[in-house]
Amino acid sequence: MALAAPTSSGRFGEFGGRYVPETLVPACQELEEAFREAWADPLFRAELDGLLADYAGRPSPLTECHRLSAELGVRVLLKREDLNHTGSHKINNVLGQGLLARRMGKKRLVAETGAGQHGVASATVAALLGMECMVYMGEVDIERQALNVFRMRLLGAEVVPAMSGSRTLKDAVNEAMRDWVATVETTHYCLGSVMGPHPYPWMVREFHTVIGLEAREQCEALLDGGIPDVVTACVGGGSNAIGIFSGFADTDAELVGVEPAGGAAVGRGVPGVVHGMKSYLMQDEFGQVQEAHSISAGLDYPGVGPEHSHLASIGRATYEQVTDAEVIEAFQLLSRTEGIIPALEPAHALAWISRDRAKLAGKTVLLNMSGRGDKDVGQMMEILG
């Protein structure tokens, strides 16, 4: 395996751990135990693989972007997670956690969501498995991702606005954790990225390694030498990025995560502890967590998954920043050249390729197209007029 398991205390290098209220420690231990067992159980793996294929539509294709490549002078390949059921990579993780929750006898899922993609995936899997689902979402995000709020409700989930702080993803995580502290006996916290307390960063990564495994095989079939020069993805918590990185961590491919300039935990943060983990975190001089600001609700988060902090600190991956304006450009560029409307999140990775195209000239870049843009067209209609 290309990326190692964390240490027994859930650390990737110095990052990670399990910084949760005492009330939740036994639940995290129980979850870790259940995940280890399930992941080693061929029946569990077979059921998950079956759902990934027949329900989510995997494998997702690899698309070569001829017109975009010609325009940029960079050969761009897209791993099409946008074509999964529910429209993003998030379904990989939620199918895994949903099956695990059922195996643990939990009847209810709580989830946080930013852009609403993880919330929609959670609501979907709850419907599929006949579970209750409650999704916490920042009030600001409820407004800018109204379509996904409607989808979640249609799927039978309850959407609860998080009204504190910046009223975005960070506050939705706080509310979901508060819910879990009160309901831990019956409820599974279906965390949406490679963040939070151990075992989440590891478990969520494992559920997303399917992205990297498929992409590696697809690249081997398509490319001379089989390995792209660069593998890139947007980074909010970092789940889609770690999923595709996992397929190439043992190769010479450069791994590049792209953060929004207004929510660049690796780029602008220092180590800190919040939401159960030690990781890079944007904070003030006293350690108060700062509010992120990004056009993309899915990346509007001041922290990042601990394994990314580790990969950054050992130099295995690098992290770039792009501005909202560059993202808006990239959103239009892909739509116009390839007939693919990206979600604003993966548009960050494309924005970086586009900006740094001189440096990347002639190279082959694999981009994880983590989601489709349907959810963002309302917001972009307002911005673009």
Partner: protein, 276 residues
């Protein structure tokens, strides 16, 4: 890819045998037959928070918890969230609060309650020494469970700051003794599954956790989270050595009762506890 084995969180130093200021005071009161009362006051909230601290001390508190507000208080319900947000917005920082604490002569031990990142960010040694320099006896960090407490506890023990650990209803029997052994000052029994906030009735889980803890330790066992009034305080003290009163007091403070109102509320609980 190799992983460095920096498993710092796993090394948990044994708690020093000698009792600190807080534990000494609480044991003495308890052993004299008194039920223990520890009000929680958000530091830096309003101009009169120091007066509120003195008022609740005068009203019969055995120790006082000072909340140092954090941006993301995941163990706190709406009342303490609001108090924290207001204090932060008015410019409260750990430094301003410690500075003011140094000048408050409450006459009872002070424990600071905050979230781990503030200590981690300042540096364990510096944070522990700042607490000691401000006259603070103990620290309560609700997002720093036993497995992660090592690096902080090492610094706190060295600075003479007692680290109070939380014991929750969800802990299996084999876990509680380990939590209790590492807890200093007192053992903070979490009364219910949930975050801080008032409840209409005393949760039965409070009685259960208090009883389980009393069966395994002679350290003072105080129940917090959800204890909302004098009646509930008396009820839980049938099993526990005392109570922590947070949201019920801070709701009143947010409603504007001021130092005298805060003192009156704590005095009412004190009287009920003394009457048994």
């Amino acid at each position: 890819m190799s992983l460095s084995a920096l498993d710092e969180g796993l090394a948990i130093p044994e708690a020093p045998a000698e009792h600190g200021t807080l534990e000494t005071a609480l044991r003495a009161s308890r052993d004299a037959g008194r039920k223990l009362l520890v009000p929680y006051v958000t530091g830096g909230l309003g101009d009169d928070w120091a007066d509120i601290v003195r008022a609740v001390a005068d009203a019969g508190a055995d120790a006082i918890e000072i909340g140092v507000p954090f941006s993301d208080p995941v163990m706190d319900g709406p009342v303490i969230q609001e108090a924290s947000e207001l204090a932060l917005r008015s410019g409260a920082t750990p430094v301003t609060i410690f500075d003011e604490l140094r000048t408050i002569d409450a006459g009872v031990p002070i424990a600071v309650m905050t979230y781990y990142n503030l200590a981690f960010h300042m540096g364990h040694e510096r944070f522990a020494q700042s607490l000691a320099a401000a006259g603070v006896s103990a620290a309560i960090l609700p997002d720093l469970p036993l497995e992660e407490v090592g690096p902080w506890a090492t610094a706190a023990d060295a600075a003479g700051v007692e680290t109070v650990l939380l014991a929750a209803p969800t802990a299996p029997d084999e876990r509680l003794p380990r939590v209790v052994a590492r807890s200093r000052g007192f053992v903070y029994a979490v009364g219910l599954l949930g975050v801080t906030g008032e409840r209409d009735a005393l949760a039965s889980s409070s009685l259960v956790i208090a009883k389980r803890l009393k069966a395994i330790t002679d350290k003072p066992v105080l129940v917090g989270v959800g204890i909302s009034n004098a009646k509930q305080a008396v009820e839980i003290c049938a099993e526990a050595d005392g109570v922590v009163i947070g949201s019920a007091l801070m709701r009143r403070v947010l409603e504007g009762v001021g130092a005298s109102g805060a003192g009156a509320f704590i005095a009412e609980i004190r009287a009920a506890l003394d009457a048994g």
